[in-house]
């Protein structure tokens, strides 16, 4: 793979949080004709950011690379969720009470 086609996410100097920031970074990667988006040196990100980035990259045939060991479990859940079209999230049991809180 040609190295100059890698877009390094760390160069954006933005927190890897929120879908809007993911869209912005992705647009910049496209402007630079990137074929890969590198998560090199990114030790934390959010689910929304990573989910949005995964969807955009998949739709536009860009590859996500250099995912750290710390982020891999989150990334794997996102991939699994999209491939199986199934939500992976904790289950909550909630009690609905008729009493007014305040």
């Amino acid at each position: 793979m040609n190295k100059k086609n890698i877009f390094y996410i760390k160069d954006s100097k933005l927190m890897l949080a929120t879908r809007d920031i993911a869209r912005h970074i992705f647009r910049n990667a496209l402007k630079k004709s990137a074929t890969c988006i590198s998560f090199d040196n990114s030790s934390f990100t959010s689910r929304s950011f990573l989910d949005e980035m995964y969807v955009l990259c998949t739709k536009n045939n860009l590859q996500i690379i250099d995912m750290s060991e710390e982020l891999k479990p989150l990334y794997n859940i996102i991939i699994k969720s999209h491939k199986q079209n199934k939500v992976y999230a904790p289950m909550l049991k909630i009690q609905k009470l008729e009493k007014t809180f305040a």
């Binding site: 912005h24 909630i94 008729e98 009493k99």
Partner: protein, 269 residues
Amino acid sequence: MESLINPTKNLFSILNQSDKLIDLSNIKWLYPIEILPLAALISENNLRYQYPLDTKCKEYLKYFKFPKGLQKYTKNSFYCLPIYNFSASMKNISSLQTKSEIISNLIDVFAKNIGSPKGAINALSLAIDEIISNIEDHSEALRGWIHGQHYPNKKFLDVCILDRGITIKGCYQKNGRKIFEDKDALIKALQGESSKPEKIRGTGLRTFIEIILGAFGGEVIIISGNAIFYSSKKTKPIIKNLSIRWQGTIIAFRIPKMTKNIDYTKYIA
């Protein structure tokens, strides 16, 4: 750790007594769950307000930039995140940078005061982001509001994030769902039913709650319209009605000082 319940009740007591004037003259102490909704209400509805007579409380409020808050990131102390009101709708680089810096500042406040055992920063950033993303993607509010404070003597961190948008019920209704009660909408959102057509969305609030309760042993309050959700490590999740409707959604959480490492993967699926 003290509970968020009393300050939340106090917030509604202040709102109950307020019409066009928010009277804080007898107030001596306010937590973010009280400060931020009042700040947003005063600023977005152009309400008049009366500062507390208690000088210390008044100075604190001014220090946090009550009520208007900051719109641009300003380097601040590591003990608090002043009131920020950020753009929830603008997608330009300056707005994104501001949002990025606010989140980064909040994580610094957390790491310096609450501790940063392995995995904690990742877990916190996951939790906060779920809420800010919800404001961006679902609330239709123009502005989002955030404020956080660390209490060194009480050894906990309080954060409140809110919007004055269409509420969770409004969001479902806009997407064609026949949900008429705020309480039902909040339950659906917490049980993971996405308001968006994409089937695999709707993980946000559940992940947020699981991280705050499970990973941090904290406490969570979510208010949307006239419904309130409460849960803590000791109390099972409950939903009740409120006597006053909040136009929008308020999320508040309290987390104690951390020493244990966190495996965030245990709380995301």
